[in-house]
């Protein structure tokens, strides 16, 4: 297949006085789901805004579905559905009003699909926006985006503030939209469970920089926690891929990235006994990554 990449960012930089996004490279093919994960203020929303052409970068290039952004954003946006928290619906109008409104702008509007989504989301189209709960608003905005059948869905924090039942409805419908292999999703979340469940690729952002960006299975596979007993209190081997060390008496938990079979042997030969080797959840990887990135920033600051 010779499809252009869903998103292709190279060397993106955006400088605010209080925050700097630097050297962001980010790309994934159509048909895939990319999840941006990182703490609050890491730069997730800024990246999404750059991708949407709502901001122009200070340096670097952005292509979305083959279109250069922000210059060709009109052509690109025909095929992108964007959902963000600060998007407002008209409070005194109904869901039906918004459906007609979107339909009048986008000729790709699929009325049958919109009706299906109304039923699945248990929304009443004659209800006014001001009476909707937060969950209903999120579902209504998702409906308005999905019924256009966009080739790329860009979703800033889809599940923030949703109860578990609505969260599931939203994620399920995002996945349903992917049944066609040219549809893609780029979304940000600090809910690691969402990212772990539906992403094909994970990009981890911290302090305006990308720490890691790779396919989810490799990402998760690379991390391990080794539980050691260090009876003679010998020094741990000095491996560059050690990301965290928790020591308490003779017991020690070491978190490593880029794990391979040679790692346990190096601890063994340094005189430590390995009692367990555990895989990490994305939540644990997230925390280890943040801790490590913080320490790195401190080091840079000191130097």
């Amino acid at each position: 297949m010779d499809l252009p990449l869903a998103v292709e960012c190279k060397g993106l930089t955006k400088d605010y006085s209080h925050f700097k996004l630097q050297g962001v490279d980010l790309s994934f093919e159509q048909g895939a789901v990319m999840g941006l994960v990182g703490p609050n203020g890491a730069g997730k929303s800024t990246i999404l805004r750059l991708v949407m052409g709502l901001l122009g970068p200070d340096a670097g290039s952005i292509r979305v579905l083959g279109h250069a952004m922000p210059d060709e954003q009109i052509a690109a946006k025909r095929n992108i559905g964007f959902i963000s928290d600060d998007m407002r619906l008209y409070e005194s109008e109904t869901i039906a009003f918004h459906m007609d409104f979107i339909k009048s702008i986008f000729d790709t509007w699929d009325a049958d699909y919109a009706d299906i989504l109304l039923r699945r989301f248990d929304l009443h189209k004659h209800q006014k926006v001001k009476g909707l709960s937060h969950g209903q608003r999120v579902k209504a905005t998702l409906l308005l985006a999905l019924a256009r059948r966009p080739r790329l869905l860009v979703f800033d924090e889809p599940t923030t503030g949703l109860d578990p039942a609505v969260r599931k409805e939203v994620l399920d419908e995002m996945m349903n939209a992917l049944a066609d292999e040219t549809r893609s999703i780029l979304f940000s979340s600090h809910n690691t469970l969402d990212i772990e469940q539906i992403s094909d690729y994970i990009t981890f952002i911290y302090g305006g920089r990308i720490i890691e960006s790779r396919n989810k299975e490799d990402f998760m596979d690379g991390w391990r926690r080794l539980r050691l007993t260090n009876m003679q209190s010998k020094p741990l081997p000095n491996l560059p891929n050690i990301k965290d060390i928790q020591q308490s008496g003779h017991l020690c938990a070491v978190t490593v990235n880029e794990y391979d079979e040679s790692v346990p042997a190096q601890f063994n030969s340094a005189g430590q006994v390995i009692t367990a080797i555990e895989r990490l959840s994305l939540e644990e990887i997230f925390l280890a990554n943040v801790k490590c990135a913080k320490a790195m920033t401190m080091m840079e600051f000191i130097q």
Binding site: M175, D200, Y201, E217, T275
Partner: protein
Amino acid sequence: MYQQIMEQIKQRIAVGDWPPNTLLPSVRELATETKLSIITVKRAYLELGREGVIITQQGKGSWVSDTLDLATVQKQELIQHLEQASKLAKSLAIPEDKILQLIKQFME
């Protein structure tokens, strides 16, 4: 997460819902059905292929292996567990006869 999918597929095969030569859903279909990412389902299929539970032909799809019987699948799983246990025992420096003794205890 891919291990969960592997387990589910093995169960479907084990209870006879998917007899030998059954065409498995495409990666994308199963991802949509389970609401799990495509890469996760792909990984599960890859591992199942390695274990000989399914056969995948590029561009054609995946089938439940016809040379497969349930006992083989389970045996393979047992061997994997034993392999892991042996590795762990080695790293713990537990001698061979001690491990064999333990296994004997469990078998009684």
